[in-house]
Amino acid sequence: MRILKIGVIVILLLNITGCWSSKVELDELTFVYGMFIDEGKEPNTVEITINSPLPNRLNAAGQPSNGGGGDGNTYSTVSKTAETIADAMLLIQKDLTRQLSLAQLKVIVLGKTFAEQGISELLLWIEREPSLPLGAFVMASPGSAKEMNTLTPIYEQIPSDVLRNFGSERYLFSTTIKDCLYAEASGVGFAINNLSFGKKEETSKDGKPEFWAGIQGAMLFQKDKMKGVLKLKEGRALAWAAGSLKLAVYSVDWDEGKSAASVVFVSTKSSKKLNKTDKGPVFTVNLKGKASVIYLRDPKNRDAEELGQIIIAKLKEKVSDNLNEAIRNTQKAGADVLQLGLLLEWNDPKQWKQLRERWDNYYAQEADIKVKTDFSIVDFGTAK
């Protein structure tokens, strides 16, 4: 019995023999918060920019403090170009005094040209990089990804925080690395936020220009290739259908513009359904929403019931139009962003087997997608 006990203890302790060497003090690490990937200037190269906070310039209260060298930013950026992503990361590491840690990565921004060429190398690299969190958001920059890094984080501490919040606040799409890997492996598409970049009118205290970033729409991918872009309106409808939209505000008018209303949807839900018909599968995308009226102008003083019907009808028209337009665009681009292929595989595996090989084509040219909406108004706001 005694030998058995000692044996168990020894076996338990043997588990931790390798732990000793993995010790890294917190002040020997630099945490990469954002990663910006562009095509290099020379062909077949990739330029990687990392964005990481500088704890030595942030005191414990999170405020910028004096100390350390450099121009006083609380974050630092390093850029390197190499033939592969792994090589570029190594080059970055080589020039840093601290060990890179990807464990806190929050956002990956893809440059447009890089996205057009295909992101399969990136996805393959991510698959084999254990420390990289799968919850990091993926976004796209209309120009170079690197310039996103120069935006001025006015409310946040570092630029990556700004971009991360675009994802986590679910303004449009909140696509993560996991979603991308999933879509690529399943042979369907996905959409990511297409950012915008511009100069702010006001300049900072010391006269340098300030840049800001926003969302201008969505970028559509099929498997690992960028296929097209969507404008904000369609992007929002598509994000709703994909189930990632949190804030939805719509305005409608009627009576030749004399009456108008704005609503905010307090609940946005969506469902996708497949109907098997003789002519092939018919997909139905259903948007459900509960709206709260936040602005109302009605010279005719209709009662609530009548107003509700009008507003809902107008909303239905508007949202369906947007979504139809968005779906048409995805079909034109050949990007199955709503992942209807997976729906088909789940509900009708036989059909999917036949269509799988040519799904990209089928989706672009033949797929029959219907849009339904189901809205209700929960309140008309407070009337004072």
Partner: protein, 480 residues
């Protein structure tokens, strides 16, 4: 008589405080032998010396006096005969008054012992807000009286032991007939009989004998200074041991979760009590593993810290010359030293230590960049958490075990902490002081006893005694 007296005088030679008071009765010498500092001198005067003098002045015969002495009617207080000379000497030094009468082969003795004692005071170490306040004192008679005051039943039994060659300390084993586990009492009796020691000055001497060579750092017996705790435990079927000279009673057997209960729990509303218990459990765990978790996570697994918190910790860690482990060890050791100094320091200068300690740890060390502010917070929380454990000895154990955990956490990471914690848990599950599983009702799992473990159910839910301490008469109250 001369033989007896010679022997007594021989044995008490050098005891200059022994008094030999001679009173002549009908021409015969009667000698009162006692040590005045440990007897009740008022009783001596009124009930022994005075009747003796009255007797001497009475017109009765010597033989008549002896006869009446034998009948027990000379003195208004109880007195007995003793034949064993060695015992007579022991009685004198234990505060009895011996009456030595010429020509008699035996002596009479009076039990009017009165040691110096303080009065019953409020509990100092196990405070309650609502509920009885009185606590045990050093005098065992008083302590027994406090328990008898709570339990007025003939089934409350006491067994007397006199332990220690020199101290001859009175030890009482108290229990309620019909509730205790027989084998537990047998074992305690046997162990107490086996004790052969110069003297016992504290109840922990006894506990070390009862441990039976078990070297676990965890306390195997519960100490309490509260009569109500003893009474409650006796009614659960536990056995109490009282020792003269210690204001603390020992309760056996003991389980881990019993020591995380406070008497206050039963005096407050069960909602409040249950909530406080949950907090107490949480902080007990924190007091043991928080520093090791902090060190392990920051040096091995920074990826699991939320980003904003990570930046805060990382910026505080910048420019700290030591590794997180060294930093934690320095702080913990300093804190232990401060705490010990705070306990031992004479009261008038106590303030100095707390002020200097507070400034050194709290301010200067952080500002000088020797330790980081989050580490100070961790050590302080841990320090406070230690005191949330109601049983002081268990708190000491937790304080001690924190260090191996810290070293494992700092060198092996979370896995090291988990494995060490697992080994400690395994050790706890393996403990069976006096046959009671230490971790019951968790291991073995006894769901019925959970009514009084993490939560404290209303009293009318607890209709049965736990089988942890009793295997007979489980009915606690009428079931509805």
């Amino acid at each position: 008589m001369s033989g007896i007296l010679e022997t007594i005088k021989d044995q008490l030679e050098g005891c200059s405080d022994a008094v030999y008071q001679s009173i002549s009765v009908h021409g015969h010498t009667c000698l009162l032998i006692y040590i005045p500092s440990i007897i009740d001198s008022k009783t001596l005067h009124e009930s022994i010396a005075l009747p003796l003098k009255t007797e001497a002045e009475a017109k009765l015969e010597w033989a008549n006096f002896l006869e009446r002495l034998d009948q027990g009617i000379v003195f208004p207080i109880q007195y007995l005969k003793a034949f064993d000379l060695q015992k007579v000497v022991d009685m004198i030094v234990a505060g009895k008054v011996v009456l030595c009468i010429e020509d008699l082969p035996y002596v009479y003795y009076f039990e009017i012992t009165q040691y110096q004692k303080r009065s019953v005071t409020e509990s100092q170490n196990e405070l309650v807000v609502i509920g009885p306040q009185e606590a045990f004192i050093e005098d065992i008679e008083t302590n027994l009286s406090l328990i008898r005051h709570k339990i007025k039943h003939p089934d409350l039994k006491t067994i007397h032991y006199s332990i220690g060659k020199y101290t001859k300390t009175d030890v009482y084993v108290v229990y309620i007939e019909g509730l205790y586990k027989k084998e537990v009492l047998e074992e305690i009796k046997q162990k107490l009989n086996e004790i052969d020691i110069d003297g016992i000055l504290g109840i922990s001497y006894i506990s070390e004998y009862l441990r039976d060579g078990n070297l676990t750092p965890f306390p195997l017996f519960q100490y309490t200074e509260r009569p109500d705790s003893v009474a409650a435990s006796l009614m659960e079927g536990r056995i109490g041991i009282l020792q003269d000279g210690t204001p603390t009673a020992m309760l056996a057997p003991t389980s881990f979760f019993t020591m995380l209960q406070s008497s206050e729990d039963y005096y407050q509303s069960f909602y409040a009590a249950s909530w406080i218990r949950v907090v107490r459990f949480l902080f007990s765990i924190i007091s043991m593993i928080l520093p090791s978790l902090y060190v392990a996570i920051t040096t091995f697994h920074p990826q699991i810290i939320p980003p904003n918190l990570l930046i805060t910790i990382a910026s505080a860690r910048e420019n700290i010359p030591f590794s997180a482990l060294t930093e934690a060890l320095i702080m913990e050791l300093t804190f232990e030293a401060l705490r010990e100094a705070g306990t031992r320091i004479p009261k008038p200068v106590g303030q100095t230590v707390s002020i200097i300690g507070g400034i050194v740890i709290g301010q200067a060390a952080v500002q000088a960049g020797i330790v980081s502010a989050p580490m100070v917070i961790v050590v302080s929380i841990t320090g406070i958490a230690t005191y949330i454990i109601p049983h002081y000895e268990l708190g000491l154990t937790f304080r001690l075990l924190r260090f191996p955990l810290l070293v494992m956490g700092g060198t092996m990471g979370l896995l090291g902490v988990y494995i060490t914690a697992f080994l400690i848990y395994g050790h706890l599950a393996n403990l069976r002081p006096l046959g009671a599983p230490y971790l019951q009702p968790v291991a073995p799992l006894v769901l019925r006893d959970w009514k009084d473990t993490l939560a404290r159910f209303p009293s009318n839910f607890m209709t049965k005694r736990s089988n942890l301490y009793t295997d007979r008469n489980k009915r606690r109250q009428k079931e509805k």
